[in-house]
């Protein structure tokens, strides 16, 4: 196998993988802090992509600029979802030590409602933003890197860095980490646990909003666009370590590279097997994921 081709495949894989990882960050955070498996994760991404699309289609706003609207919108949606839909369930099952499994069903229900509401409102058509910028590429011989994809990758890295810093150094970030470690102890220390939960869900969804704005220039929008990403996010979260932000990006990059490089040797349908094999191996030898802490 030509090393040049392998090199190019790896670069493509890293760029795509970084993007997958960024999408998975929210899921990782939400699960790490609240032990809630958010089945509606893909649906929030879909909203995070429809918002910049409609702002472009109706008002001519550049998708990158619409981050200032999309990110707060998604934050609010996530905050409200936790505050009004999920937390009553938490309060009712407070006596249980483990988080209630019924939350899983609840988020699955939200996913169904959101995807089908979008289908009802917008129809099934695939739409795309048409921008001159979307077509610009960086060219090095056989290697072509689409500028929009590269930007999305760089934004993924930036989100990772900022979020890690936020969690490590700010008071709110430390409250979030404390709640993730032990919710009752955190409450005893005077941390407002329900508020922390709300904010965490909000942050998880806001990340999706930002990434959505960066994906819209090169991808398409449709009510079911979140499904493929949602499924990959679950694999990445477990692979990279639950609750670990850098772990998400790492897991995403591994997945992206395996798909891209594996696809050079076998067909893409078979390359998926490699991804799952690595997933199983990691679970076997390090069940908490590559960068996960002991739960």
């Amino acid at each position: 196998m030509d090393p040049l081709i392998l090199g190019i495949a790896t670069v493509n894989g890293v760029i795509m993988g970084g993007l997958y990882g960024a999408v998975a960050i929210g899921l990782s955070l939400i699960f790490g802090v609240m032990r809630v498996i958010n089945f509606a994760h893909g649906s929030f991404l879909m909203v995070g992509m429809f918002t910049p699309y409609w702002m472009w289609a109706l008002f001519g706003v550049n998708p990158y600029v619409s981050v200032i609207v999309t990110a707060p919108l998604l934050f609010t949606m996530g905050y409200l979802m936790q505050a009004t839909i999920i937390s009553p369930l938490f309060k009712r099952e407070r006596a249980k030590v483990l988080e209630p499994l019924s939350v899983l069903m609840l988020t699955a229900g939200v996913f169904l409602i959101m995807d089908n509401a979008a289908l009802l409102l917008f129809g099934p058509d695939y739409r795309a933003v048409k921008m001159d910028f979307s077509l610009k590429v960086l060219r090095f011989g056989l290697l072509t890197i689409n500028y929009a994809r590269l930007l999305a990758f760089l934004m993924s890295i930036m989100i990772t860095v900022i979020l890690s810093y936020f969690l490590a150094s700010t008071d709110l970030g430390r409250s979030i980490r404390a709640t993730a470690l032990n919710r009752d102890a955190a409450a005893l220390c005077g941390i407002n646990v329900p508020r922390v939960y709300n904010v965490t869900f909000g942050i998880g969804c806001a990340v999706l909003g930002i990434i959505g704005c960066f994906m819209v220039p090169f991808y398409y929008v449709s009510p079911s666009v979140g499904v493929a990403f949602g499924i990959r996010s679950f694999i990445i979260v477990v692979l990279g370590g639950i609750g670990s932000i850098p772990g998400s990006i790492l897991g995403g990059i591994i997945l992206g590279v395996v798909e891209s490089v594996g696809g050079q040797f076998v067909t893409a349908t078979s390359a998926v097997i490699f991804s799952f094999c690595i997933f199983i191996l990691v679970l076997f030898f390090k069940p908490t994921g590559l960068m996960g802490q002991r739960v």
């Binding site: 695939y126 795309a128 499904v227 050079q264």
Partner: protein, 417 residues
């Protein structure tokens, strides 16, 4: 309210509702329930919606002109089941339509992966199934008695593509030696791949790349890299709409040169939503195996009435999939007329004897609809069109090519465009 009172009220209510339902049904015009199983959500939702609209327009026209004459003017009632582009859901929807909605005949399901199991369900329940849009050969090769197909089989699609290449080769003296094939990895793509593999041998081309991918691909750069490394003369692609959008965009970015062009066997490239989402340069000079005559509305004026009703609902002109929905509804109506009843056996026998040589059912551009002993309409065919300056022009068969048209063959390199 005491329990006794509730019981009495319930009893009165039930009696009344029985009485009224009796009178209402005696006065209502009879209805014939026709079921459609289509992807109304999921990856093929746009195409499902187009087929659905075609069927609705046809049913409206039939009902407006007096319904089914041989059944006392009974009206057509359409019931739709959403397959969600999933085989298991399509199969359970088929069962629901047969058992709960009591349909007399079913039409479905566009995706080969759905039609294959769902038609087997229909066969088990002895309900006639008219296939729309699914080309997997095996659908009409199982010796089933209740399954019919008006459209192309996969082997027809593949043959048309290669015949067109042969024709262009003969006309210009230049042709490809090596072919690459990229296809979606479910029933439809694999069906096409099996046929391409066989026909390439027959026609004397070398198939240097045979590449499947799982549908819902987010990034085609690994595949494009692989293809470009092999340097084929010509590439054949079988992609559904979302994948086709991403592929065409990335193909444009990569500015890959294939001397004898990109040949798409339909699905995504027959969906108007695809052309809206992709810049014109990405599809320039692309060949498409269209399941119907693309210039139909210019050639057949009578289709304009149906097109107007269709356009009012969806906002764009009727396409291959709208035409299939429309045509199949008329085929079913024709069978219902000759059957004279909603008995499934009579409908099946009427379908077997179908022989349509004129009328709205031929909106798809065929000259005839008649099923062979396997239920396949052997008179189905498509056209191969080329996209020149934003307009799809039929280039094959020669009989369908407009006088002014000239094939761009070999296809100009990116540097010359």
């Amino acid at each position: 309210m005491s329990n006794q009172r509730i019981c009495v009220l319930l009893l009165v209510f039930l009696t009344l509702s029985f009485a009224f339902s009796g009178t209402v049904s005696a006065q209502a015009v009879k209805e014939v329930v026709v079921g459609f199983v289509l992807p109304l959500s999921g990856g093929s939702a746009t195409i499902g919606q187009q087929t659905q609209t075609g069927a609705i327009v046809a049913a409206e026209q039939i009902n407006m002109t007096g319904g089914i004459a041989s059944q006392d003017g009974a009206k057509i009632k359409l019931v739709f089941g959403d397959s969600q582009t999933k085989p298991d859901v399509g199969s359970s929807e088929t069962e629901r339509l047969i058992n709960r909605e009591k349909v007399s005949v079913i039409c479905g399901a566009y995706n080969s992966a759905v039609s294959f199991p769902a038609s087997e369900v229909a066969e088990r329940y002895k309900t006639p199934w008219v296939t729309t849009g699914s080309v997997k050969d095996e659908i009409t090769e199982r010796g089933f008695k209740y399954v019919f197909r008006t459209c192309n089989k996969a082997v027809y699609d593949a043959k048309e593509q290669l015949e067109a290449i042969k024709l262009f080769n003969q006309e210009t003296g230049k042709g490809p030696r090596t072919i690459a094939h990229l296809y979606e990895g479910t029933d439809w793509g694999r069906s096409h791949a099996a046929n391409i593999r066989k026909l390439c041998k027959d026609y004397g081309y070398e198939l240097i790349l045979d590449e499947a991918y799982p549908p819902g691909q987010v990034d085609f750069s690994p595949q494009l890299l692989k293809i470009r490394a092999k340097k084929p003369d010509l590439i054949i692609i079988a992609l559904y709409t979302p994948d086709h959008i991403i592929f065409s965009k990335q193909y444009l970015e990569s500015k890959s040169d294939f001397p004898f062009g990109v040949h798409s066997v339909g699905a995504g490239s027959e969906d108007p939503a695809f052309y809206k989402a992709v810049p014109q340069e990405a599809v320039e000079f692309m060949f498409v195996q269209d399941d119907w005559q693309v210039d139909m509305l210019e050639v057949m004026g009578w289709a304009r009435g149906a097109n107007k009703m269709y356009k009012e609902r969806l906002g764009f002109d009727i396409n291959a999939y709208g035409a299939q929905g429309y045509s199949n509804m008329w085929v079913i109506y024709d069978a219902l007329e000759r059957a004279g009843s909603t008995d499934k056996e009579k409908i099946r026998e009427a379908l077997v004897k179908t022989n349509i040589t004129s009328g709205p059912a031929l909106i798809t551009g065929y000259q005839k609809i008649s099923f062979d002993e396997n239920g396949q309409n052997t008179f189905a065919h498509g056209v191969i069109s080329q996209n020149i300056e934003g307009k799809k022009i039929s280039m094959w068969p020669l009989a369908n090519r407009p006088a002014y048209a000239k094939v761009a063959w070999p296809v100009p390199a990116w540097s010359e465009r």
